[in-house]
């Protein structure tokens, strides 16, 4: 396959960026999207040009490092996968592919297609955990959890923190990411204990970081590589409402 890549290049956070076109030739349809970029980068190194920087690691769709806004969609045209699992067979020979970084105020560009997603870490640090210390824990089977509940919690827990939800959302809202964690813990008996504080703290942090407001467009669910449902957002909304109504002055 021969392709033209229209790639966003930006030397660093403080410098202005621009699109540059790169032709690539003779790409195997079985190559993955990132392998195609590897090939481009090898060529750029040979030509003494600066290779394109992008985040990637596991290359099997689970670490959440890879990002890339491909032809207007996070993780490209196929559903339910990350960029690293996207294979070139999904593109047409001769096509021009536009590759942009995630765009959101809380995700500043570091270089080229690489963005800083530490905002997600900060949200988790604000409350995305169950406050248990190591050791002194009751037996794992002490609390039975209905299979259905465990399954729903697992659906939510499948989030890989890639940020596609933010990237896809017209409002750059992080609701699906935050909701996945809130909902996972709110459903499990272990997580119920501090559910009220958790949802308040995580939502407050999310707002503080400058993510947009959710307007229920559901683009996040459509583009989530793990197909996490917006029903978790509803769950977070109700958790939040209950927590607000029940909160008392300290």
């Amino acid at each position: 396959m021969d392709l033209t890549l229209k790639i966003w290049r930006q030397a660093s956070a403080n410098e202005k960026g621009q699109f540059i076109n790169y032709p690539v030739t003779d790409i195997s349809p079985d190559a993955s999207f990132l392998e195609m970029l590897d090939i481009l980068n090898e060529e750029l190194v040979h030509k003494d040009e600066d290779p394109v920087a992008f985040d990637h690691d596991c290359r099997e769709g689970i670490c959440g490092a890879c990002s890339l806004f491909i032809n207007g969609r996070p993780h490209g045209p196929d559903k339910g996968i990350t960029t690293c699992q996207m294979h070139m067979r999904h593109f047409k020979d001769g096509e021009t592919i536009v590759i942009e970084p995630w765009r959101a105020k809380p995700f500043p560009v570091i270089k080229d297609l690489m963005v800083d997603r530490s905002a997600f870490d900060e949200i988790i640090q604000a409350g995305g955990f169950i406050s248990v210390k190591t050791g002194g824990i009751p037996d794992a089977n002490a609390i039975p959890i209905p299979k259905r509940v465990a399954d729903i919690a697992m659906d939510a827990a499948a989030c890989i923190g890639c940020g596609a939800c933010v990237a896809a959302c017209k409002n750059a809202s992080a609701m699906l990411f935050v909701a996945a964690k809130v909902s996972q813990f709110a459903r499990l008996p272990q997580g119920k204990v501090e559910a009220r504080e958790r949802v308040q703290n995580m939502v407050a942090k999310m707002d503080e970081l400058g993510f947009g407001n959710c307007t229920n467009t559901y683009a996040c669910e459509a583009e989530c590589p793990k197909e996490i449902s917006v029903s978790h957002i509803a769950r977070m909304n109700s958790e939040f409402l209950i927590s607000k109504l029940a909160s008392q002055k300290k």
């Binding site: 590897d38 570091i110 690489m114 955990f129 248990v132 050791g135 089977n141 827990a157």
Partner: protein
């Protein structure tokens, strides 16, 4: 040899860990605040250790090479985590888990460590459930188990095909909790460049900030390396792109002994290689072997037709298929340990029965299971794996058998550590895959997660205190000491040298070449001639690398090529040590198969008389040969037998 003291507590096997904990004098809470620990790596071992240290009250600095601690490669583990809970009532026990692990490791692991691992395995499950890890459950609400290779009981806990992810997110949440409280200082996008040793003790590190290129200095009272394995020395492996051996290699060159570098695990169920552009291999969980049956055509002509695309696997009738694992190992069938399954696949493909375009693949067939259990059950068990396969290969595994082939997956070798997980450098600890400790010559499935978390949650938080409790008078270190200057300068010199070569070959081209050498000669089948050749080739390649590699750009920027170059430079040395170790071990055991040493049936032939030891290598300098030390393995409690899964 006297330098190797494993510090195994006295007493009966089952009481060693209890005795150790009783005898330990912990650091008093007020003093913990005055002690700092550096943790490199935030995978299962690193994140759990950092979180647990911080909970105890120590000051922790944690580092990850990635943009978030949540992305460490532990996340990719699919199948599950072992524990001796015996929930299914099938006769499991701590002893049985211990026994299976030692036997699975072909009697090349330290008994006391493995027993402790089995002992704390149960606590791990409790801990993870309390953290909100959504393990699979039965309809009654209790935890579900499945079986894994090398075991006759079901003791594997799982969260769909994403167990590693869920466990890591559990550890990450614990770590995040402590970061939020200010007990852990978290540093993302940092790569360890050098270990700083002051007065013979590990006291700090030089880190490269991957965004600015700046070399940063950090000091502490102790350093924990939890940087994972070095399987990427093979270029193509199931490891993540950033997985590397540099941190432990730096430690090795500063005096930490390297244990069993040759012990590499080749995982039998990976998606076969497709083209030379390929950057990594994708694992298909071992759990698939619970329901999938592995076969190749019984007749070479059928195999040939499949390779030529004239025949489909579904068109081959039952009596023309060779379910070779079931044939050779009736007791364990498709669930033999990984090394056995991998070698058997290689044997069939080498003999000309392989399928796929390249002939380097065998079938993993779910037709029987789908008939027996229905598509829905299979989908519930392995849905995400099947989807993953389909995305990569573009074939539907519900309809046509999967194609699989072995690939490098895990390195049992790593920094040599004693019972306390301390390396031969005082104050330097190694946890998880970065140490050599518990898996002997072959790791059983679902044991890596167990070991990582055992080290981090339940072992290091105790054992590190035995080191730290005589450090309470040592004040916080300044980073302007000459030792830091020296370490930073040597790093800077290496970086400058790499950038100044401006040769004609890319870093990846060297990495690929190294990978091929390793795969061909230090891979699944090894022999004297090949290993000697590998050593020679690696040396030549290294020479070439330092003269002709091209690293573009400068240090003071995001420079992935430079990062890779630094890692490949280390792999080019580490690969040689692996070959040397494989050469000296004149026996076959576990994942280490020396073709000269096999039974008439082609099974591994161990030599317990001469090789029942851990090889611990000592670095002596660039121009000197590494020195081999031996930690003799005393099998006090287990009767050593020829490993048989027949």
């Amino acid at each position: 040899m006297t330098k190797l003291d494993a510090k195994i507590p006295q007493g009966p096997l089952a009481e060693k860990w209890t005795t150790y904990k009783q005898d330990l004098s912990p650091v008093n809470p007020a003093n913990k605040r005055r002690l700092e620990i550096i943790v490199i790596g935030t995978g299962l071992a690193g994140a759990s250790a950092a979180a647990s240290f911080a909970e105890l009250g120590f000051k922790v600095k944690a580092f990850t090479i990635l943009d978030s601690p949540r992305r460490a490669h532990s996340i990719a583990a699919q199948g599950g985590i072992n524990a001796a809970k015996n929930y299914p009532n099938d006769g499991d026990s701590i002893y049985r888990l211990f026994y299976d692990t030692i036997k699975g490791g072909d009697y090349r692991a330290r008994e006391a460590n493995v027993y402790r691992l089995a002992e704390v395995s149960n606590n791990i499950i409790d801990q993870c459930v309390a953290q909100g890890v959504p393990f699979a459950r039965e309809y009654g609400g209790l935890l579900d188990n499945r079986s894994f290779g090398g075991a006759l009981v079901s003791r594997t806990f799982y969260a769909r095909g994403q167990t590693g992810q869920q466990l890591l997110l559990g550890a990450y949440s614990a770590l995040s909790k402590e970061v939020g409280k200010g007990n852990v200082q978290m540093y993302n996008r940092r790569d360890m460049m050098e270990l700083v040793i002051i007065d013979g003790r590990a006291r700090g590190v030089i880190m490269r900030n991957l965004v600015t290129g700046e070399l940063e200095r950090y000091s502490a009272h102790a350093v924990v390396l939890a940087t994972g394995g070095y399987g990427n020395v093979f270029f193509l492996s199931t490891n993540a792109m950033a997985s590397n051996g540099s941190a432990i290699w730096k430690a090795y060159k500063k005096g930490a002994f390297f244990g069993n570098p040759a012990f590499t695990q080749i995982h039998p169920t990976c998606i076969p290689v497709k083209g030379d552009y390929q950057s990594k291999l994708t694992l298909m969980s071992e759990s698939l072997r619970n329901d999938g049956r592995i076969w190749v055509p019984k007749h070479k002509e059928d195999a040939q037709k499949i390779r030529d695309g004239q025949l489909k696997p579904t068109e081959i009738p039952e009596d023309r298929r060779d379910y070779y694992l079931e044939r050779r190992y009736p007791a364990f069938g498709n669930l033999v340990p990984r090394d056995v399954a991998s070698r058997a696949a290689k044997e069939r493909c080498d003999a000309g029965f392989g399928v796929g375009r390249t002939g380097l693949a065998v079938y993993l067939d779910f037709a029987d299971a789908i008939n027996r259990l229905g598509k829905q059950v299979i989908e519930a068990r392995y849905g995400n794996l099947f989807q993953m396969y389909e995305k990569i290969v573009d074939e539907n595994p519900y309809e046509t058998p999967m194609m699989i082939y072995p690939a490098v997956h895990y390195t049992m070798g790593g920094l040599w550590v004693d019972y306390e997980l301390q390396t031969t450098i005082p104050g330097l600890f190694a946890a998880g895959e970065a140490n050599f400790s518990d898996h002997g010559a072959n790791r059983l499935g679902a044991s890596a997660l167990m070991q990582g978390l055992a080290d981090g949650y339940f072992i290091l938080p105790y054992t590190i205190q035995s080191y730290l409790n005589d450090q309470i008078r040592v004040p916080f270190f300044k980073t302007d000491l000459p030792e830091f200057d020296q370490a930073e300068n040597s790093t800077k010199a290496t970086i400058d040298r790499l950038l100044s070569i401006k040769g004609k070959n890319t870093v990846d081209s060297y990495h690929r070449k190294l990978g091929l050498i390793m795969w061909d000669h230090v891979g699944m089948g090894r022999n004297k001639e090949g290993l000697e050749k590998a050593i020679r080739l690696i040396r030549e390649l290294r020479e070439d690398f330092w003269n002709n590699v091209r690293v573009p750009g400068k240090n003071e920027m995001v420079n992935p090529e430079l990062e890779k170059a630094l890692r490949v430079a280390d792999f080019l040395e580490l690969g040689e040590l692996m070959a040397k170790d494989a050469l000296q071990r004149k026996e076959s055991c576990g994942g280490h198969f020396r073709e000269e040493y096999q039974t008439e049936e082609g099974e591994a032939l161990r030599d317990d008389e001469n090789f029942s030891f851990v090889s611990a290598w000592e670095y002596k300098g660039a121009d000197q040969e590494d020195v081999l030390h031996k930690e003799i393995l005393e099998h006090e409690f287990l009767h050593v037998t020829q490993r048989s899964y027949k």
